[in-house]
Structures are given as C-alpha cells and as structure tokens.
C-alpha cells in the first residue's frame, strides 16, 4: 500500500523527471551528433546572440570547446536557454547534457541536488549596484530599500542573510531574468540590483549611462561559477572538466588559438605535447579523440583569450582578471597537470 501511494503520487509530477539521467552521456552525445548545452537567457558578455543569431560569450565558449573536443567542430552545440529557476530541472531531467551558466558551486547543489561541478571558470562574489544620485556609498546604508533579485539563485539567499545579520529591512522584488531585472531597475521599481558582481558589470554596460551607476565595494559572498553536469556519470564529468582545464593550462603554457596548429605538430614541452595529442593518447583515457585539446583551443582560444574577447578590460563589460588571473600571475586560477 505504501509503495502504491508513493507510486500514485509520483504520477502527478511524472513529467518533471521523465528524462533519462543515466551514465553514458558521452555515447549519447556522440550518437546524436551535438552537445545540448544549458545557458542563461542573456547576460552581456557571458551569453548573447551575435549578429548571425548564434550564441556567443564566456559561457557558450565552454560548450563550444567541449563540442570541438568531441567532434572537432565547435558548432556542434545546441543551446537551451534557462532561467535561474529552470536550469536545474533542465539538467536533472536530461533535457541538457551540461550547464554553462553563471552557476555557483555550493554544497547543497553538489550533494542534495546531485550535480557535479567540473571546475570554476569565474571566481565571483555578490555585489550591489545603485544609481549614483541615491548617494549611498556603503551596502550598510541600504535599510528600507527595494532590491531586485533573480529568484532561484544563491543571490536571494545571500541577500536575506546579509540584511538580516545587519538588522536591516528591505523589499524583495523577485524577477526571473537578467533582462527583466534591468527593466525594473531602470524604471525605478527597485533601488538596487544585486547579483554576481560580474553580472552587475555586464548589466551596467547596457544601461543608458553606465557611469551614472556604481557597483558598491562590498562583496557579500563567494560565488565560484562553473560548468556542471549530473552526478553519476564520471566519464562525462571528466570530459567537461578536462576540456576546461585544457583552456586554462593552454594559457599557462602559452598555447593560443593562433599558434595551436603549429604547436600540435610537436614542441619540446612534453605537457603541451600530451595535451594537444602530439605525444601519448590522453584523450582515449576518457573516450575522447587524441587531439581533443588541440581542437578545443583552436575553436575558442585559451582561457585568457576567451576572457579578453568577451568580458575583459577592452570590452564594454570591462572586467579585470583579478582573482581570475592564473596562479602564476597573482590570481587563483590553477589547473591540475596533464599527465
């Protein structure tokens, strides 16, 4: 009887978990010929559609690198846009093979929601953006303000904690997407927009007069953002992890989009040779072609190049490398070795 009730109840929400979340994602991906990648609905620099209508940006680049590593073709990706709220259901149900979408690695997402974060591609923290004419200089002066937050994020939980622990009150204005947040913020429905500092910089760049808004110095949380896959399929997790590591290692070893073809022919650095497939066959160990590193870097460039192209100081987003510089250059970006 107990199993019956359980079963009967389960029918109701059957659709939610109808997908097949089994091992063998790499085989499935190869069979269907593309990677199904979950991305955000749009954050300038991080995920946007170019003039030709293709998704580009700091996050889609990870998907493209994975596709290039598997198929030697960076365009073998199909995208599913997800909001902060729909992303985990999309991944858990098997609707997408991986997520690359400003997602924070947290304990409960790793253990309870059962996802595997395959590294960090941006070390971030939560910040606040306000209009300059409000004349506030510190997040501690925000008592009573209306705050726009995206629902289903770590942001809304941090926000509640921050105001609570500082004995301040606020009006939460919940929204679904970054774009909606922008609209509400510019219309003055909320005084403050809070999200990952990178997202704030990205959003600020699209405002009519970016210089009229400040991002406050306080960072109230740690938000390590990275790609993730479902628990339980270690091979697929390894694929995504080591493609990301290849992009980071490439920067460290000076392999760029421009010189990767040349270097793939063989260099006198054995690690480069192993990563690009000139020596040994690391790829085979996780079901990938021998030249997976070569293809990934050729398609999107190394980590530094991706950063520079989409969100770096020379772009309208204008983010500094900061924590996201290589460990050799004062940051904390560090990839395990290719060996």
């Amino acid at each position: 009887m107990k199993t019956f009730t359980k079963a009967a109840l389960a029918v109701a929400a059957f659709g939610v978990v109808a997908g097949n979340a089994q091992a063998g994602t790499l085989q499935d991906v190869m069979a269907k010929g593309h990677v199904q990648c979950g991305i955000s609905t749009g954050v300038p620099g991080f995920a946007f559609t170019d003039d030709a209508g293709n998704w580009q940006g700091f996050d889609p680049a990870v998907c493209q690198a994975v596709a290039a590593a598997i198929f030697g073709d960076a365009s073998a990706v199909k995208y599913t846009t997800t909001t902060g709220k729909t992303r985990f259901t999309a991944l858990a149900s098997g609707e997408v093979d991986m997520l690359a979408r400003n997602t924070t690695w947290t304990f409960s997402r790793d253990t309870d929601l059962q996802f595997e974060f395959t590294g960090v591609n941006y070390y971030d923290g939560q910040g606040f953006m306000v209009s300059k004419d409000l004349g506030v200089s510190s997040a501690k002066d925000l008592d009573g303000a209306s705050v726009c937050i995206q629902t289903g994020t770590t942001t809304e939980l941090n926000l509640a904690d921050f105001f609570r622990s500082n004995g301040m009150s606020y009006e939460a204005v919940p929204i679904e997407t970054n774009d909606e947040a922008r609209t509400n913020y510019t219309a003055g429905r909320c005084d403050i927009y809070t999200t990952d500092a990178s997202g704030l910089a990205a959003t600020r760049s699209t405002l009519d007069d970016p210089s009229a808004h400040v991002i406050m110095p306080e960072i109230i949380s740690k938000e390590p953002l990275g790609p993730l896959v479902r628990h339980g399929d270690h091979q697929w997790g390894d694929v995504v992890r080591w493609v990301l590591n290849a992009l980071i290692t490439a920067e460290e070893l000076g392999v760029t989009q421009a010189n990767v073809d040349e270097m793939a022919a063989g260099t006198n650095n054995p690690e480069i040779n192993r990563m690009l497939g000139a020596e040994g066959d690391l790829g085979a160990m996780t079901g990938l072609p021998k030249d997976f590193g070569h293809q990934a870097i050729k398609a999107v460039g190394n980590y530094g190049e991706i950063f520079e192209r989409f969100i770096g100081p020379s772009t309208p987003i204008g983010l500094e490398r900061g924590l996201n510089a290589l460990w050799t250059q004062g940051g904390i970006l560090y990839s395990p070795p290719f060996r």
Partner: protein
C-alpha cells in the same frame, strides 16, 4: 420437442460467445478493459517516475518543508521571515493566492454585472461601449493584460520621491498605492460587537417580516431596518465610544514609504488584469441570463401591479440567476487558476513560493508540484461547492 427446448434455452445458459454478444456482459467487459488499461498506465508512469527518481538518487519525502526557507517574501498576510520554514513560505503564498482570488472574484463580478446590464441598455452608445469592451478584452490573453498593466504602472507612474500625493494621506508611485492604515484602539471592540449584533438582528427581523407577510399580507420596512442595524448602529456605537480608531499615515522615509497599507504594483496589476478580463466573460453570462427570462414574465408582473423594482427583484433576477450561476462558477475557478500567472510579474503566490523558489532551492520538484496541484484542486472544489450550494438554494422551488 426436446430439440426445440434446447433451441430456446441458450438465452439462459451461459456460453462464452455470450460474453461478447450480450449487451450487458459486453459493457461490463469493456469497462473492465478500460479500467485495466487506466491502472496499467498509471502504474507504468508511476513506476517510471519512481525508478527515475531512484536513478537520480533522489528520495521522496516532505521533510524539507520544515527546513528554513532562507528567502524573503515582499507581500505577506502573516508573520514570515527568511528563517521561517518552507511550509510557512507556502502558507504565505497560499494566502496571497486566496487574497487575489477573492479580490478578483468580487471586482470581476461587479464589473461583469455592470457590463451585462449595459449590454442590454436601449442606449446605443452605452450598449456599443460595453460590446466593444467585451470583444476587445476577452480576445487578448490574460497574461498580456497582466504584463501590460504591470508595465504601465512601473514605467509611467512617478518614482517614490515624486509620488503623487492625495491630501498627504494617499500616495501613488511606481512602487504601489499607499493608504492610511486603521489601527483599532481597545474600545473598538464595542463597534465590532454592535456590527455582529446588527447582522443577527437583521436576520431575525427579516425572518419575522416574512412570516408576518405570509400570515397577514402586510409588508415591513425590511430594507431600512437592515440598513439601520448593520450600518447605522455601528456608526452610532463608533461615535458614542469616542471614535476609537487611529490612522497610521504612510510617510516617505529613506528609500520607501513606511507605515500605512501598501498595494504593490504586482498585486494591483494582477488584480486588475484578472478582474477586467474575467468581467468580460461574466458580462456575456449576465446578458444571456437576463435575456433568458422571457418578456412575458415582466409583462405578467406589471399586469399584477408589481412596481418595476419588485419585478426585477422578485421575477427577473431570481430566474436569470438560475442561468447565470453555473457558468459563473467556472469563471470564478478560472480566476483562481489564472492567478498562478502571478509568477510572470513576481507576485508571490503559492506557485511562486512553494512551487517556485522552494522547489528550486531544494530540488524537490515532485513534492512541490504535488502540493501545488493539491492546493488548486482543493480551492476549485471549494468554490464549486459554495456555488453549488447557492445554486441549489435559488433553484426553482415548486410548491
């Protein structure tokens, strides 16, 4: 002879072919097959869901409801903060759903009845106006109405600093409509008590008046006595006790108005959109209801010498209601169900809280969806049973 008996007998004896060729058996068999298929399907789906959950390594259970929710809700009818449980968050959401449903039902009924009556007006302009409104509004999806009104409020109304000020008591800005909030002093209970007593008295008086009219044919001034008991007496009590009511006036402090009552843009836009939209349908229902009462009835009533007001009250409306109530019921349920579109503008109803943020933060899709499903089912059944009760009450009683 024996052969003949055998020939006529089979109709009683059992044979396998009869299972199919006899109507009675056939229908039983068909029903059994249908049942088997239905249960088979249910078990197949449920089994799948359970095994999928197991594959995902997820357990099924409602324990998460007691963990702290961790998020804040901007509109709440009961105490709630980010340390409260998911269960309480769901309760806050449920109350918000009920609030919007009740407010929507009341406003849409008022507008709808007005539209219906206008539609029947002999005045060409009034009639066309109502017609155009109905045709326009009900042909645009309700979600569009919601987004439109919300967009208009947020983008065209002034910001908090420049809020429209109505006599220093009421303020309107793109963060909502702020009104004074009544604060009852201890003596106010006298007024409340008088009000309750008034209702009881009015009910008692009406009953007495009806009995008297049935016995003697004499009418009593029911309307005025009711009005006096329910409204007049409490007003007198209010004045006699020295007006024991204070008003908390909203005041601009820092970023926002503090104090008073606030109707947030999300509530206003959802409420207006649902009401205006559903009113268009109710208008048509009311029109058809009134038109269904044949003109002969009105003529007969006036031939009997009934004045126009009484004709409406005693002859037309009771008969029209019989046609109006059942479809009205389904429109009330529609309002309740459509209120789940709240999520589009961030009104924190039950779908946005337990079925949205809680679901997302805990990853309990199945459990949360079952809860939301159950809640809407219960709300719909509740509306339905109230309406059915009312329908039975006004049914044609044959004497």
């Amino acid at each position: 002879m024996t052969d003949a008996t055998v020939l006529t007998k089979p109709s009683d004896a059992f044979s396998l072919t009869k299972l199919w060729y006899d109507k009675k058996y056939r229908s039983i068999i068909l029903q059994m097959i249908a049942m088997a298929l239905l249960f088979g399907a249910i078990f197949y789906l449920a089994g799948n869901a359970v095994s999928n959950l197991e594959k995902l390594g997820k357990t099924f259970g409602f324990d998460f409801l007691w963990a702290p929710a961790g998020y804040d809700i901007n509109q709440r009818l009961i105490e709630y903060d980010s340390r409260s449980s998911h269960f309480r968050a769901g309760l806050v959401g449920l109350l918000n759903t009920i609030l919007i449903a009740v407010c929507g039902i009341i406003l849409s009924t008022i507008i709808g009845f007005a539209l219906g009556v206008m539609r029947l007006s002999p005045n060409w302009l009034v009639n066309r106006l109502s017609y155009c409104y109905i045709e326009f509004v009900r042909n645009v999806p309700v979600l569009v109405h919601i987004l439109l009104i919300h967009g208009v409020i947020v983008t065209t109304l002034p910001r908090t600093k420049d809020a429209l000020n109505f006599g220093d008591n009421f303020f309107l800005s793109n963060r909502g409509f702020f009104t004074p909030k009544p604060l009852a002093e201890p003596l106010f209970y006298v007024v409340t008590a008088t009000f309750v007593a008034g209702i009881l008295f009015a009910w008692y008086y009406r009953r007495g008046a009806r009995i008297k009219q049935e016995k003697t044919g004499q009418q009593s001034p029911v309307f005025w006595v009711t009005l006096g008991a329910i409204i007049g007496a409490p007003i007198v009590a209010f004045i006699v006790t020295g007006m024991p009511l204070n008003w908390e006036i909203p005041e601009l402090k820092g970023f926002n108005f503090k104090g008073g009552l606030a109707l947030k843009p999300e509530f206003i836009s959802l409420w207006l959109a649902l009401s205006l939209y559903t009113a268009a349908f109710i208008g048509e229902i009311v029109r058809s209801g009134i038109e269904a009462v044949s003109h002969g009835q009105t003529e007969a009533a006036s031939a009997l010498g009934l004045p126009r007001g009484r004709t409406l009250n005693l002859v037309v409306i009771p008969q029209a209601l019989r046609v109006i109530i059942p479809p009205l019921n389904s429109n009330y349920m529609n309002i309740t169900k459509n209120s789940s579109l709240a999520i589009a503008i961030g009104y924190m109803d039950v779908v946005a809280t337990i079925g949205g943020i809680s679901l997302n933060q805990t990853g309990r899709e199945m459990e949360c969806m079952i809860i939301v499903l159950g809640i809407y089912l219960a709300l719909s059944l509740m509306i339905s049973s109230v309406m059915n009760w009312y329908n039975n009450r006004i049914k044609l009683v044959e004497r």
